[in-house]
Each structure stands twice: as structure tokens, then as C-alpha cells.
């Protein structure tokens, strides 16, 4: 696994993003192999450590993943350039939050503006954090029932069997209650933003 991880054939930016949007592990591996070193270099040369580099790169991958997933991603430069610009922006912001004196040196990589893309992302991040927290607060068995129905796409019959309900009406009832609870927690959290 060690050597094959890094010896990938050339694939185009378009194929890579398409693969990423459809959850291809190969595309993700290729993304890391091709671009993680660049992120590591950026962060390491600017007061960061390996853990920082991993975090930043993960955040950057999430940005391009969610843009690709939306189907509205229009890349006007090389993927490398976009990814690098996102990593740089995110890292600068993090350094600012840590109170570091930021002075990045002469840039040798192409850069593009990513401000508006990242602003969009902030909203998605909020939704994610809220949903994550709401699901955690929801607890069991609701959490698993909802995941099974909405995400794992189990049928009502599957759910009846799995959870031992007497009939599908009971199962539907339970699903309804759980969803209502989740929505309540979610939207209460929402107003606190």
C-alpha cells in the first residue's frame, strides 16, 4: 500500500473533482498524493507543524468537495492553484487567530482569490456543526433510526425487523417522533447563531 499510494497516473482536474464528488477513494488518494506535500510545505515553512498541515489540507479538501457536490463548481485555474490558494487563506486565518505576526514571503505559486468561495463555505460549516451537535444531543435510539432510514436507506420493513417493532405503523411513528425531536434541537441551536 505504501508505494502504490503515491504512484498514480496522471488524471485531469475534472476527473479528480468528479471522483471526489462521487466519493471515490481513489480520487481522494490521488488528491493527497498530488497536493498534500504542497500544503505541508506551505504550513511547515510558516510556523506550522504536521498536524496543522493535515488539518488545513482536510479543510481545503472539504471546501472543494462541497463545491463539487453542489454541482456549481467552476474552476477557472488549475486545481493545484485553487487548492493552494485555499490552504494559504485558511492557514493565514489560523495564524491570525493564534496572534502570530503574519508575513508570508514572496509567493512562488500562482494564487487566485478565494474569498467568496470561502464565505459560502462558512454557511455550510455552520449547518454542519449544528447538525452534528443536534445529532449528538438526540441520542439513541433516535439517532440510529434516522441514519438508517434517511442515510442508509433502509426500508420500513428492514427497520421493523432490525428494531423489533410489531408493525410498520409503529416504526413510522417512531421515525416521526425522532425527526421532530431532531428538528427541534436543530432549529433551537440555529436561532442561537
Amino acid at each position: 500500500m505504501g508505494t502504490s499510494f503515491y504512484h498514480k497516473e496522471e488524471i485531469s482536474d475534472y476527473q479528480l473533482l468528479k471522483g471526489l464528488a462521487t466519493h471515490s477513494t481513489e480520487a481522494l488518494e490521488h488528491l493527497y498524493a498530488a497536493y498534500y506535500p504542497m500544503a505541508l510545505q506551505l504550513v511547515s515553512l510558516n510556523s506550522g507543524n504536521q498536524e496543522d498541515a493535515r488539518d488545513i489540507f482536510q479543510e481545503a479538501v472539504i471546501v472543494i468537495y462541497e463545491k463539487s457536490r453542489d454541482g456549481t463548481f467552476e474552476l477557472h485555474c488549475r486545481l493545484r492553484t485553487f487548492l493552494y490558494s485555499v490552504c494559504r487563506h485558511l492557514w493565514l486565518k489560523k495564524l491570525q487567530q493564534r496572534g502570530r505576526n503574519i508575513q508570508l514571503g514572496r509567493e512562488t505559486e500562482d494564487l487566485v482569490s478565494v474569498d467568496s468561495d470561502l464565505e459560502e463555505q462558512l454557511w455550510k460549516d455552520k449547518q454542519f456543526t449544528l447538525m452534528k451537535s443536534a445529532m449528538e444531543q438526540l441520542g439513541e435510539p433516535c439517532r440510529t433510526i434516522l441514519e438508517d432510514y434517511y442515510l442508509n436507506r433502509l426500508t420500513m420493513q428492514d427497520i421493523v425487523e432490525k428494531y423489533g417493532y410489531t408493525n410498520s405503523d409503529n416504526a413510522k411513528n417512531q421515525k416521526y417522533k425522532c425527526l421532530m425531536r431532531l428538528k427541534k434541537i436543530f432549529f433551537t441551536g440555529h436561532t442561537k447563531l
Partner: protein, 359 residues
């Protein structure tokens, strides 16, 4: 409770036939119902986005355990190694050297594993000169249709470059990278007329491609230039015409080296200002010979450009089926020789096209 389940069934696409029709009728008639359905759709969207991102994060965490570890471990850089800061030149060199050393230590293993060390690490880059055209606007979908686009593929937009005629009957040359992955290609002449073309030849290695205007009645007057069948000389004054914007742009320079980016023998280095959209355009000498095809530039830089040598294009055209080709005549003197640059351009404009790629 039942309504929720029916809404879920509808959104899962489990409904068919008369049941589906009845549901959709209700949607049309009952605004309140429609609002509840939209609300459920939106909420499910947020739930799915949450799950998708969680899955991605899990995958990335697992992948990261496979990344090579660095010799410096997880400690932050030692106090002595400063980030690259521009103070005065002297300390710049010192900190650059330190940074380079650190970079090699940290990045060396990773670069070696990824095979990236074979790429140029001096900070210069080759950049292709295709440009992206105006975005295709997405039509506003009603929120009810959002569920269809949850897993929609990426739309990379459209790209543009330049192409030029290599025959009188509609053959055009351009760069491979301008037209790669195209679903459809159109060209536009200097009068604004648009023609559909098909890709009849492409070669990623030489970065050349040949297009043919599909309208079989398309004709141009005899070409006023020829493709030089040998390497042009260093110091030769050259110029290009291309479309980095929607009106033709003239650029002037000279051949500065007989090899291109990183000693590439298939292209020249040219001192010339080029911009995205120039890719695929002809590079001509004073006498009206096409000596190359503009394809890229070096960054960071303003005037280091590269052009594929015309010899390669000649070889390519020779290898094509000669029936489809009304060859460029190899005359000693072209009609452009002895004309002023302004007049040369006026003659050339008709033979140079915007290449528009859709995919």
C-alpha cells in the same frame, strides 16, 4: 405522521402511477402542502450534507495514517528557523537557505514518495494559455428540483484559445490542451461568424490538435503564410495574433532560445507577452512564415513564453490523410513578405479564429 411518511416516500422516488399523479396534483394546488414538502426536502439535504462530510472526514483520517512521517515529528519549527520574511537582501538569502534546508528535511521524504522531486522545484512553473470564457449560467431550479442535483457532476465551464487555418478547406491548428476533454468545439472568425468543428487529430505529447470545420462548403482564400519546415533561429523577430480577449490581440517579441520549458526540444522559448487565450495561436516571423504555435508561459514572469515548433505541426499534417488536406503551398516568398506589420495583420486576421470549448 402519515403525511411525513408520504412526503418521504415521494422524495425517495418510491411513488408511481396514480399515487404519484395525485401527490403532484396536491403539490400544485396546495401551497401549504408544497411548503411542507420543500421544508422536508431542505432538512433532508442538510442531514445528507452532514453525513457526506462525516464520511469524507473519516476517509481522510484513514488516509492520513498512510502519509509519510517527517523527521521533525510533530514539533513546531525550532525558534532559529524563521518563516520567509523580506527584510533586507542579506537576511533574505540567509533565511531562504535555512528555509530551503528545512523544506528539504520536511518535504524531502514526502516529495520522494510522491515522485514530485522530478518536477521543477525552483518555483518556476509552466502555465498553459487557455482561458475560461463567461460562465454558463445555471438556470434557477425550483427548490423541489434540488434533490436531483445533490450528486450532480462538476461543471468545469468553458474554455477558449486561438486556432489558425492550415488549409483552405477548414482545417485549423491549435493546442491539444485547449481542446482536451471537450464535448463540443466551435470556432469564431474575426467577423464574428461561428462554425462548429470536429476534432480530427490530437496529440498530448506535442500539445497539438487539428480541427476541421464541419461545413464542407467552407473555403478560405489561399493562405498568405506557410509553415516553416525547419527550426527558426535564435534572435528572429516574431509576432503573434491571438484571442486572450474577444478581439484579436497582436504581440511582438523574439525567439530567445531553441528549447522550451526545461530544455524541451519540441518548443522555443520566446520573449513575448502572452495571456490566457493565446494558446494555439500562430507565431510568425517577419517574412510570413509560421514558426510556431503559442502554447504556454513561464510563471512567475511576464514575458517568457513557449511555442511548439512548426516542424512538429508539419509532420503531423503530413501524416494525416491527404484527401482531407488541401496543403499549404510551399512557396519561396509568401504574400506577407515586404508588407508593413499593419498590413500583414490585416491579411492574417481572416485566418485566425477563437476556439471555444464546451464540456
Amino acid at each position: 405522521m402519515h403525511e411525513l411518511h408520504e412526503i418521504d416516500r415521494y422524495l425517495n422516488k418510491e411513488m408511481e402511477g396514480s399515487e404519484l399523479e395525485a401527490f403532484e396534483q396536491l403539490l400544485l394546488q396546495d401551497a401549504g402542502f408544497r411548503a411542507r414538502v420543500n421544508e422536508q426536502l431542505e432538512f433532508r439535504g442538510i442531514l445528507k450534507a452532514y453525513q457526506d462530510r462525516r464520511l469524507l472526514i473519516d476517509k481522510m483520517d484513514r488516509l492520513e495514517s498512510l502519509l509519510p512521517t517527517t523527521r521533525l515529528g510533530t514539533e513546531p519549527l525550532k525558534p532559529g528557523t524563521t518563516p520567509i520574511v523580506i527584510r533586507n537582501v542579506k537576511s533574505l538569502w540567509i533565511s531562504m537557505a535555512a528555509a530551503a534546508l528545512v523544506a528539504l528535511l520536511i518535504v524531502g521524504p514526502a516529495l520522494w514518495y510522491s515522485g514530485m522531486l522530478k518536477k521543477d522545484n525552483s518555483g518556476v512553473r509552466y502555465r498553459e494559455m487557455k482561458r475560461s470564457l463567461e460562465n454558463l449560467t445555471r438556470s434557477q431550479n425550483a427548490i423541489i428540483n434540488t434533490i436531483k442535483t445533490i450528486n450532480a457532476p462538476v461543471n468545469p465551464g468553458t474554455f477558449g484559445g486561438t486556432g489558425f487555418a492550415v488549409s483552405s478547406n477548414g482545417l485549423l491548428a491549435t493546442n491539444y490542451h485547449v481542446v482536451e476533454n471537450a464535448d463540443s468545439i466551435y470556432v469564431q472568425d474575426d467577423k464574428g461568424e461561428v462554425f462548429k468543428v470536429k476534432l480530427i487529430y490530437q496529440d498530448p505529447v506535442s500539445d497539438l490538435a487539428v480541427l476541421k470545420i464541419m461545413d464542407s462548403s467552407f473555403r478560405l482564400p489561399l493562405l498568405p503564410y506557410k509553415l516553416l519546415n525547419k527550426t527558426a533561429d535564435v534572435g528572429e523577430d516574431v509576432f503573434t495574433l491571438g484571442y486572450p480577449k474577444n478581439n484579436i490581440v497582436y504581440g511582438k517579441g523574439y525567439i530567445s532560445a531553441e528549447t522550451g520549458f526545461r530544455d524541451d526540444t519540441s518548443s522555443y522559448q520566446v520573449t513575448l507577452n502572452v495571456n490566457p487565450g493565446n494558446s494555439g495561436g500562430p507565431l510568425l516571423d517577419n517574412r510570413g512564415n509560421v514558426v510556431g504555435i503559442v502554447s504556454g508561459k513561464q510563471t512567475p514572469s511576464n514575458d517568457i513564453a513557449f511555442a511548439v515548433k512548426s516542424v512538429l505541426l508539419n509532420n503531423l499534417l503530413d501524416s494525416l490523410d491527404t484527401d482531407t488536406l488541401m496543403k499549404v503551398p510551399m512557396v519561396k516568398q509568401t504574400p506577407l513578405d515586404h508588407l508593413s506589420r499593419v498590413d500583414q495583420i490585416k491579411k492574417l486576421e481572416d485566418y485566425i479564429f477563437i476556439v471555444k470549448v464546451y464540456n
